[in-house]
Symmetry: C2
Subunit: 523 residues, 2 copies
């Protein structure tokens, strides 16, 4: 989700809709909870608070996956944290950077099994960009009257009243150690209740997500039986900017493509050859213009043919509280491209984006020449039904229909003398795949019910049919082939991937409530 | 003229069509020659050879106009060379880099006056790129069997038989000291004949041509009466690649323009915003495509409206021995843009050339973003009837008609929120102007007759109505407002402006013949 989205409504701790609704079940002893149980905000805060020391400890462990030894320290630490809560654990071999598997005891066949995916590694850091001693020394901060952040004594986290607006700054505070700790706190709450979860709880912690999860598929294949489940929940990424409870059912994939148009063999004097030698920048412009119109709609035949959106989905998307007026003002655009009726709909379509373009030089180095080549770098956002191979081939065929002869490399003299229009076009047939799970799948309904049980329906939780950006969902769910939901838990303005990453402590508490609600709801 | 043009025919010294035709006139004493007199190639060679020591001396004087002291040495040297031949001279003040004026004696009102323009300054040098000790130490070379060049004893130049294929290598050997020396040798021949020229001969030597002649207009204004004439001849630039006698009647001008299309305020994540935020590279492509078609014809309304070519001119242009098949093979293009019926015709039209284009990055630095801006750098080649101001305004109006709001600088938030399409477009209303003189003006006919008297009409001299590139003709002829002809004398493959500049000695000889023919022909 675009982190630039304006926050529309604070998702502050709310009065629970059904306070202590699970207490009667607890009074019945250790029987599993057969309907969603709600954890009150004060209770969730108490269980959250009890994990804050562990949270800060965990954030003190560097976790850039370029350093396997660092990854192993995180895995060891987390393994102990899960074991201490009764989980059985196993480190899953992964080239010296093991992933962690943990399973809540007493799984039984009468309950559905949910595999929770999170990741323990973090983005690289540039320490000097951080407004604190080290990205690995977490700091508690509060907002100043001027809108900045000032450090306060983190001892305040461990006892006494908490302020949901406080934030802990540190690498992976939000992405993705925060959600792991929220799960541990939710488990603590469940254990304290004496109850059993309503689903069998399995957890896998990826160790290379920030490197694009290059091995998650292999590791899952190698541990296929262990990981067997009915559904997956992915706790990663930011919530909707409104900070309302958020469910995401898929994301677009991405593939790169490159288009080069050839002119003469060398740059030519624009006086002697302007009006004579074909200009490849001009030709490239014309070719790109034939692919997409000024309203932003791709005009390559067939590009949108596989997009199918149900009326129910359209309604759900229209209900997402995106404030496009605010967004457009922030982006500095008068209006958006006319691909979808709204932001959410636009993301359901594959894109064809010129991400870079160059021909000869501009600025200081510009010269009066007819350039010899012109290049456009493209990225194609794919959808589950419109793969990179499909879209790439459509574009390639379109280019050929515009009269181009396609070459693999710089054209030979023979090709130059034969073909009036020469270009090369390459694309990744295998990009990072899109992933999608129906909003009304069992897991979709289960997650939605758990959230509405906890937070009510006014406003309803945000349901994102498919987010525009690409995360490695396809790799994560590809092996198990089960329906899934992405349930992000952290504030959208968490500076994920950048300096000064942070987690809003109110989100920590609501995350504990959310996970508690999920694991106490039968699927 | 494009120096890349293939040499089609060697312009070797030919048997004079009318050997010694001027002798009878000479026998009549010192009366002025009333019709063109031809100098035989052996005679021309003799007078040329007599100047070769001076030529090498002159080439030994550095002449980059960044060094006024060097320019003054050249002016002093040349002033002596002209005076010794009876010219009256004057150094024309020009900020420490004087130009030289020289006038052949006995001007009289019964004859028309021709002002010959040449320049004494030269391009900067990068000595290490030259295959000789110094660009200022001229070297005589001959072609090797392998097609390279080997130095030979330059003493051979001063006596004994000459080979027209020899070349003298040195800065300004061709551009433009060679032609100055050819004129001196032609004057020597005239004086030896005891005759008078058929036109009053005035000479001006520019001292800053290679800097774009920034002061020629002022100097000519300041010396307007002194320079008064009926026509100008410019001896500069290379001949047609065929090495046939060449006349040029104009050149296109040039002006720069820059077009920037604005997208969002900052580059955006192409996943979250692809299909939502308008892409300025895509919009720029569409805008450029609206300006020019794939056949290379400008489609901005009105762009070609002022181009008028007579049938007579079309025939003259079609007769130019451009070998486009060879040219296209050399350039590596299957066919040329469809602006004119042939190369020469294409140069009669103003051009709109994308000389550089950029949006975000390509190659190593490419990223999956929607760029924030896209830039096209343009150059407009202008014609005498289609000025930079005229063409620039047409393009600007066209952009506005495509729905763009034009801004001067980066758009404000207010502009961004109001206008869906934002761009900036700037152009030089005052570029380097085009210049043109009718092919059938008095000077055009006079020059053509002088050349055909000397060289015959099979093949006919090459007449270029307007060359595509830009030289400062407009500045040179602008003050005096007289018809003109550019009569280049040096081989097209002279490496002008680059390392290893050279002059073919056969061209030196034919240049002497040409100038002799001009000054002995009544205008």
């Amino acid at each position: 989700m675009p982190t630039q989205f304006a926050a529309r409504a604070a998702f502050a701790p709310q009065t629970p809709r059904r306070p202590l609704a699970w207490l009667p079940a607890l009074l019945l002893g250790t029987a599993s909870l057969t309907s969603a149980a709600d954890l009150s905000t004060p209770d969730a805060e108490r269980y959250a608070q009890a994990t804050y020391r562990e949270y800060l400890d965990l954030l003190s462990l560097p976790n850039d996956a370029v350093a396997p030894a660092d990854i192993r320290k995180n895995v060891d630490w987390l393994e102990q944290a899960f074991r201490k809560r009764g989980f059985t654990t196993r480190q899953l071999a992964n080239n010296g950077k093991p992933m962690l598997y943990a399973e809540f005891p007493n799984s039984n066949a009468a309950r559905k099994t949910v595999l929770f995916y999170m990741h323990l590694d973090g983005q690289p850091v540039i320490p000097e960009q951080w407004a604190q001693k080290s990205p690995w020394t977490p700091v508690l901060k509060r907002k100043t009257a001027q809108g900045g952040w000032e450090a306060i004594d983190s001892a305040q986290l461990f006892s006494g009243p908490l302020d949901p607006e406080w934030r802990v700054f540190g690498r992976s505070s939000a992405d993705d150690k925060g959600p792991i700790m929220m799960m541990l706190a939710a488990i603590d709450a469940l254990k304290a209740s004496g109850g059993q979860p309503a689903v069998n709880v399995k957890v896998i912690l990826d160790s290379e997500e920030e490197k694009g999860s290059p091995t998650i598929g292999e590791v899952m294949k190698a541990n296929h039986d262990l990981l067997r489940c009915d559904a997956m929940v992915i706790h990663d990424g930011p919530m909707h900017a409104s900070n309302l409870p958020t469910l995401i059912f898929g994301n677009r994939g991405v593939a790169q493509a490159k288009l080069t148009v050839y002119g003469a063999k060398v740059p030519l004097h624009s006086g002697h050859y302007g009006n004579y030698a074909p200009n490849p920048a001009q030709l490239l412009a014309s070719l790109l213009a034939s692919m997409k119109n000024d309203q932003g709609r791709v005009t390559v035949p067939g590009y949108y043919d596989h997009v199918k959106i149900s009326e129910a989905d359209r309604k759900i998307m229209a209900a997402v509280p995106d404030d496009e007026a605010v967004l457009n003002r922030r982006l500095g655009i008068a209006h958006a491209d006319k691909v979808g009726a709204n932001y959410q709909e636009a993301m359901q379509y594959p894109s064809l984006n010129v991400r870079g373009m160059a021909s000869a030089a501009v600025g200081d180095k510009v010269a009066n020449i007819v350039p010899d080549t012109a290049v456009a770098e493209l990225d194609l956002r794919t959808t589950p039904d419109s793969s990179a191979a499909y879209l790439g081939k459509l574009i390639e065929d379109h280019i050929v229909r515009q009269g181009y002869h396609l070459v693999k490399n710089t054209p030979t003299d023979e090709e130059r003398s034969r073909y009036g229009k020469l270009a090369s076009f390459s694309y990744q047939a295998e990009g990072a795949d899109a992933a999608g799970s129906p909003i009304d799948s069992a897991v979709g309904k289960w997650a939605y019910k758990a959230l509405t049980d906890s937070y009510g329906t006014n406003p309803v939780p945000v349901r994102i049919r498919m987010m525009g950006g690409t995360v490695p969902t396809a790799d994560i769910v590809g092996v198990l082939q089960v329906p899934f939901a992405i349930i992000p838990l952290v504030n959208a303005d968490n500076n994920q991937h950048a300096a000064n990453e942070n987690l809003r402590m109110g989100n920590y508490v609501s995350g504990v409530r959310t996970i508690y609600g999920l694991i106490t709801s039968p699927l």
